[in-house]
Amino acid sequence: MLFTSYSFILFLCVLISLYYLIPKRLQWKLLLLGSFVFYFFSGWSNLLYILATIVSTYFIGLKIDELNRKQADYLKENKEKLTKEEKKLYKEKIKAKQWSWLLACLFFNLGILAVVKYTNFAIANINSVLSIFRMTELSFVNIILPMGISFYTFKTMGYIIDVYRGKYEPERNIGKLALFVSFFPQLVQGPISRYDDLAQTLYQEHSFEPKTFSFGFQRVLWGYFKKLVIADRIVAAVLTITRNPEKYDGIYVLVGMVFYAIQLYADFTGGIDITIGVSQMLGIEVKENFIRPYFSKSIEEYWRRWHITMGTWFRDYIFYPLSVCKPMLNLSRFSRNHFGDKIGKRIPVYTATLVVWFTTGIWHGSSWNFIVWGLLNGIIILISQELQPLYEKFHQKVKIGDTFGFRLFRIGRTFLLMSSLRILDCYRDVGISFKMFFSMFAKPDLKPLIDGSLLKLGLDMADYIVLIAGVILLVSFSLIQRKGSVREMLSAKPAVLRYSIYIVLFFTVLVFGAYGIGFDSNQFIYNQF
């Protein structure tokens, strides 16, 4: 069930009405049921995967906690008898047991993810090796990727690691845990919420709050605007350009880059708006995933403002553990002694950064494109880190203050840099991506921008007008938003104005949204009417 399908809207209407009609203590159960219904409609076999993850995580969480209790009891009972050494030994023994349980949980769930997501990628790679030796190639397997598996797997892994670390107690009600894992607004594209952020608001009883509800509704509407009016419209041109690299190189690549940046932003943040808005309509608070990322002045800042829950997940569960683990510290010490302070200090950071970005890359998709994309992100971040002192010196000498113009320059630079990296998302393979990137410089012919060629990409003049208006609206919205919540500002305005804005927005989505026949099936059969 996609957010943009009629069945989702219907599902939502039914669910929300029931939600506020039934006794409040049943609300979370309804959400759980709804989430499973939602998931069921995207293929019943998907349910098996998510159930396996829920059940395994649930029992292992309890197991780890049980060991904690056992340890506490044992230490309390034998408080007098045991020496410090013995206590330490016992603690280590328990920790080791917990560790194996954690490991089992991670192995199992990551294993599922690996098999469904990366098997064909692995086969493709093995085949290319086999073909060197002229051996028979393996055939691809037909696995349908369960919806949202990357997201809910990461949610549960964060949960079990936190339980292991003793950050919080495990959830004792399997239904509640199941709801945390499968909460339907988050299933398709996140955000990757943490248990301690989401759980309480999820299980609480919520009475109907007109203000929260209408705020949620507005946000949903805004999300649909971004997705339907902008993203799903501009995608036609993006696909035309990126699917036909032989035809569209040079300046078209730049056009494609910028269009894709718009599409991705509108699509992803629009989807998250719908997620957060729907949750809000249910009285549930979900953490933000974006803070106006395209206004970032550096890549490092960009990644703090784009897909935040993913970034912090990688930071907390991979980057930190990896860079402060014993072997890494030893390595650091070793290299400091042998290669000097400068290099030694950098080794843990560099290793961890590259590992994180490699993982981020492959998490996004099982292809070399995403791996290279991830690694390039990491490398650029490291380079800019190294250049930092140089920049500072430069600034002291040249004395460019924090002027508006300079800020704009940095924002533009970051936008272009991130867009260039995203070329890897768009093209068939890494080779073509690089070829296309360099063709921008090899063929700096600007003519297609003005000779009407842009109208042959699948968008006509009317589409461009809608898009330009839409983008202007997005940018101004973000600019206003820097001063605070736009919805709060609106709610202070007279009712007539407020309602008119909503009604206009509603009809804008309804009429100018790129949905239905003619958009999803490329059958422009009504063109002649």
């Binding site: 192995f107 493709a124 790679n125 290319s128 398709v188 992803f268 490699f358």
Partner: protein, 185 residues
């Protein structure tokens, strides 16, 4: 701390993928915003042309070929053509009358490009590339085309890729021959 193993574990999935050259021909989804839904698509098999085609004056006609260049090579149809719009006018089917055969085309797309969908044999003046023409004995069909056919409505039908060759057999003789595009309903 054993966090190290934890981190390594994260990589299991990746190492699992092994290393290779740029052979990852998976189609990266154009919307990595929903990475969980980007499925790898296996390398498509290059689509070969059907072994069934029609040849006239050295011009080869495969089903679903674009009609315009081929019609130009064949020259004006000596007996004209017929145009049949469906009830309302979208999508025009055309029939071109040549000496001994008729060519059928359909149109598709905004620019109404024409594609072949049938060659109908009208007399023994023409024969299939395998050498069968109207009036031949049914045995000759099997001799030339083999046993691998299906029989429906008194026709021997041979299929390959997107095309099928049909021979209508009446009292042991080939009464009609048609090469046509297989249309999936």
């Amino acid at each position: 701390m054993k966090m190290r193993i934890l981190a390594i574990l994260m990589l299991v999935a990746i190492i699992f993928a092994g290393c290779g050259n740029e052979a990852g021909k998976n189609d990266p989804s154009p919307t990595p915003s929903t990475p969980a839904t980007s499925e790898p698509t296996p390398t498509p098999v290059a689509e070969a042309k059907s072994k069934y085609y029609f040849e006239y004056n050295g011009v080869k006609i495969y089903m679903d070929d674009e009609a315009k260049p081929i019609l130009e090579k064949l020259g004006e149809p000596p007996f004209g053509s017929f145009e049949s719009p469906s009830c309302a006018f979208q999508g025009v089917d055309r029939t071109y009358y040549y000496n001994g055969f008729e060519l059928y085309t359909y149109t598709e797309g905004d620019d109404e490009t024409e594609y072949f969908f049938t060659v109908k044999f009208m007399s023994d003046a023409v024969s299939t590339p395998e050498g069968v023409s109207i009036g031949d004995k049914a045995e000759k069909v099997i001799e030339k085309y083999g046993e691998n056919y299906t029989e429906t409505s008194g026709q021997y039908v041979y299929t390959d890729q997107n095309s099928k060759m049909s021979f209508k057999i009446q009292s042991g003789e080939v009464a009609a021959i048609e090469l046509s595009l297989i249309i999936n309903e």
